[in-house]
Symmetry: C2
Subunit: 272 residues, 2 copies
């Protein structure tokens, strides 16, 4: 193309690329080639993009030095935004219509809403981004949207632990585990080819009561010699106090009262 | 804030908003308020954003007239990009290591990769966007990432049909159906509160052989008086030729040969 790109148009291109693939490193040289300008011009454009995001505070634009350097965008909800998001989530979860028999909360509409799962994914990816996991792992079924969005923001593959091994996934490793809440023996399995031995992961799930599922996932991942760097769960019930796993991060703690007729939810989110 | 936003910075803000939430309509007035400039200035900025995307051809910026009007971005992979994406997908699926006993292909790594699921979601959202469904529906488990990304691009909630009803989702409607490939009777269910009667949906899934699962989903959705506007599946096996559903869109057709030792994959994608 003969026409030059004006600065506003170059900036539109750069923002489009960065926002579309957060956390991915883009080389300034690639931008310079595509936009047909000098690297120094791209540097100035990127500086202006960085300044814009410093104002909107919706993301941080990082410049990585060196030959393999470049620029990337990290979504960064401001503490105020994150607090407002958490407050909305919590007041939404407080709704007594969400209470289900047996000490559960109906959360499927939230977890499967693309906008909520994006926000929660951004939260966990921000919380766990510095750990540099090789994979994001979740356990079938309802953690999948949250884990996918976390994986997307971290630019890592998502790995799914199944409740049963499936013919469509080849040979698998399975373990039996005891569900923390129901004390029943259950199975979970992971295809052999799903991840490389010696890698590291973060585990994301939607809901935790006894912690048996997450403990099962840890045990299964140990069979692959995989290190679990962190566990992130959206909502955790206050009871039982002694979970089968101790180390986890959550967004909300749920307490049932009046024999399960009332529910109280409080934020356990960090300021990220 | 006292400082004015320069045009490049305003454009960075507008692109950030549009790209972050494709298909969502943003009012020019909201941009004008946030950026503290006249609506006519925002109009000029948006025109420049539109011109940029006309050049990159990665998306279309639409201006909607009228009082409730505004601007929105529709991702639009160019025919060349879409063809290249489909070709990569197909050559990847051709790998004989993917063949599993019983006429299945290992596809989990593709479906659960955030970048693949985003691309496939963009494809289906583009193909089905004009149908204006109220929800995107998928059937547990492996369609979830693709359906979530489709739902995100269409700005619609995702609804999940479960293989069994769960205590964590309240009262459900269940049906029994016959799996098209295994001829076994299976169950699928949907919580009563998952969607409103009289609404319309598109169904997204990863793999189809006999079509029994999609037919089951159709029958279950009929119980909710929900209209299925379209069905999108990533890979469909050539055999059996007579599927239990006729009307579906796919990206790839899979043919096994030499008694299931070889696999051939051909593109069935539309040019969108």
């Amino acid at each position: 193309m003969k026409d030059k790109w004006s600065r506003p148009m170059r900036i539109a291109c750069i923002v489009d690329a960065l926002v579309n693939q957060p956390y991915r490193v883009f080389s300034l040289g690639d931008f310079a080639d595509y936009l047909k300008v000098a690297r120094s011009t791209v540097s100035e454009d990127v500086a202006m993009v960085r300044e814009t995001f410093e104002r909107t505070t919706s993301a941080v634009v990082e410049t990585l030095p060196g030959a393999s350097g470049g620029v990337r965008l990290k979504p960064r909800p401001s503490p105020e935004q994150m607090r407002s998001i958490t407050e909305t989530l919590i007041s939404d979860l407080q709704d007594p219509n969400r209470i289900l028999p047996g000490g559960f909360l109906y959360m499927t509409d939230i977890i499967f809403s693309p906008s909520w799962s994006e926000v929660i994914g951004t939260y966990f990816s921000h919380l766990f981004g510095t750990l540099k996991p090789d994979y994001v792992v979740t356990i079938e079924t309802k953690g999948i949207p949250l884990a996918l969005m976390t994986a997307r923001d971290l630019d890592r593959p998502l790995v799914l632990i199944r409740r049963n091994s499936r013919v469509t996934e080849g040979s698998s490793v399975s373990i039996n585990y005891v569900s923390g809440s129901s004390s029943r023996i259950q199975t979970m399995s992971l295809p052999r080819r799903a991840l490389s031995p010696g890698s590291s992961v973060v585990v994301i799930d939607d809901f935790m009561r006894g912690g048996g599922t997450v403990k099962g996932a840890r045990d299964l991942l140990a069979e692959f010699e995989v290190e679990v760097l962190a566990v992130g769960v959206v909502a955790v019930t206050r009871s039982p106090r002694n979970k089968l796993v101790q180390d986890y991060e959550s967004l909300a703690e749920v307490t049932f009262s009046s024999g399960g007729r009332n529910v109280e939810v409080r934020s356990t989110a960090h300021t990220v």
